[in-house]
């Protein structure tokens, strides 16, 4: 099983040179730490910054420079600040090349649920609905199963949806999967995880073609 950092590390291989990338809160944020040398990307945060850098050194935090997770950040040369309408113009207008976000559930038809559990306090969707409705290239980063051990890769989402038919790839602590018309196509296994393990942990249709390689880091 992969750690959260390893999930982020595996996802970082999906980030191509020249990509503008929006990272959600949680595991996706970690992806920034693993982008390979020689790959130039710019990170967009929907609260209004492009060209985010690492966290500031202690004492150099600026309350006027934060990311969508409300964390203090820095910017890199070539960065820009802009208002929320422009920021979502970038997202809705498909100028952002890749969106990486977490999920509670992903269905084999590409639906995603990640914002609301009926009966529990609902904090809101933030920018997630705009992101998943707009982006053409969305990777979900999540655990394969929930804390109760139930699969998060389903035939149909049981929770209220964030978006429909929009997720194209899922990277979990067990596997890398494409979401296709026919269901989840298993591409890679986490080290030490068998195809049988993944089958057992996947409620949705799982398509296994031939030998499934182990992930390389």
């Amino acid at each position: 099983m992969l750690s959260k950092d390893q999930i982020a590390q595996r996802i970082s291989k999906e980030v191509k040179d020249g990509y503008y990338v929006n990272l959600g809160i949680g595991i996706p944020t970690l992806v920034a730490n693993y982008v390979p040398q020689g790959i130039e990307v710019e990170f967009q945060s929907e609260n209004g910054v492009l060209g985010m850098g690492p966290f500031p050194y202690e004492g150099e935090e600026d309350p006027d420079v934060i990311n969508a997770g409300k964390q203090t950040i820095t910017t890199l040369p070539g960065a820009s600040f802009f208002d929320s309408a422009t920021s979502f113009g970038m997202i809705r207008g498909q100028h952002v090349d890749l969106t990486i976000l977490g999920a509670m559930e992903v269905a084999e038809n590409g639906d995603i649920a990640n914002w609301k559990i009926p009966g529990k306090m609902v904090k809101g969707m933030g920018g997630a609905m705009d992101l998943v409705a707009s982006a053409e290239n969305i990777i979900v980063a999540m655990m394969h199963t929930n804390r109760a051990g139930a699969s998060k890769l389903l035939k149909r989402c049981s929770l209220p949806l964030t978006g429909v038919n929009c997720i194209t790839k899922v990277v979990t602590n067990m596997a890398v999967l494409d979401v296709t018309d026919k269901g989840f196509v298993l591409l890679e296994r986490a080290p030490g995880v068998s195809v049988e393990d993944i089958k057992a942990a996947t409620e949705g249709t799982l398509i296994v073609n031939g030998d499934i390689p182990e992930m390389q880091f």
Partner: protein, 233 residues
């Protein structure tokens, strides 16, 4: 030059009444109109509807209005860094309308720009789309969203001039520019108010025509919600 300056927050909030709809700038606690919020507390106005991306924390930002039970309804994309908010929401005292952040921003911008309605893909197929018109464009379903209507908009800028021109700093910009001019009366508070002519006309983020009243704010706290740092090695 049309002078938009008023003395202080008290004068800027002239006309605030219970039952009004207010837009309040800021993202988290960054770029919030601290002085106007304090004055809203003092005003004692209740039954307010607040259009604001977030709802502050227990003891700061819009949380201060929640403490006094001045807010009837929040229209936001993300809430609940806030125990009192949760209590009021779960008890049914507080109505909450959650909408996608980009739709929130665009509905403000539409109000500012005189666009009564527009189509967006955000929220299609979710409960956000319930009761809304759906229409396909380029083979993709979109939903119809309307411009907001508000009585007051409160925005906070870094610098401003007497003509009401505004310049923002960093990500404290966020919703402030899209709310300016999106309500009947826009109140801008600034960290530094300068005479007209001192700001470069090329570098104005919001022209004064979108601002009805501007004042020099005082005692900015500018709290950080998530202080995240690295250490020098």
């Amino acid at each position: 030059m049309i002078n938009r300056t008023v003395k202080n927050a008290e004068e800027a909030l002239t006309g605030i009444k219970s039952g009004m709809t207010l837009m309040v700038g800021g993202f988290g606690l960054s770029g919030i109109p601290e002085n106007s919020i304090s004055q809203l507390v003092k005003s004692g106005a209740t039954d307010l509807t607040c259009i604001s991306n977030n709802a502050g924390v227990d003891d700061f930002g819009l949380g201060l209005l929640l403490q006094g039970k001045q807010i009837k309804k929040m229209i936001s994309s993300y809430v609940g860094e806030n125990d009192e908010f949760e209590r009021q929401m779960l008890s049914g005292e507080l109505e909450v309308d959650l909408i996608p952040q980009g739709t929130l921003a665009e509905r403000c911008r539409a109000a500012q720009a005189g666009i009564p309605a527009f189509y967006t893909p955000a929220g299609y197929g979710t409960e956000v789309a319930e009761g809304k018109e759906v229409r396909d464009f380029n083979g993709k379903p979109h939903i119809l969203e309307h411009a907001f209507k508000a009585d007051f908009a409160f925005v906070k800028a870094w610098k401003g001039d007497e003509a009401g021109n505004l310049i923002f700093k960093g990500t404290a910009r966020n919703f402030n520019p899209v709310m300016a001019g999106a309500a009947t009366i826009t109140v801008a508070e600034v960290e530094e108010l300068v005479p007209a002519g001192e700001l470069d006309p090329n570098q104005i983020h919001i022209p004064g025509i979108f601002v009805k009243r501007i004042f020099q704010g005082t005692n900015y706290e500018k709290r950080i919600e998530q202080r995240t740092v690295r250490t020098k090695n």
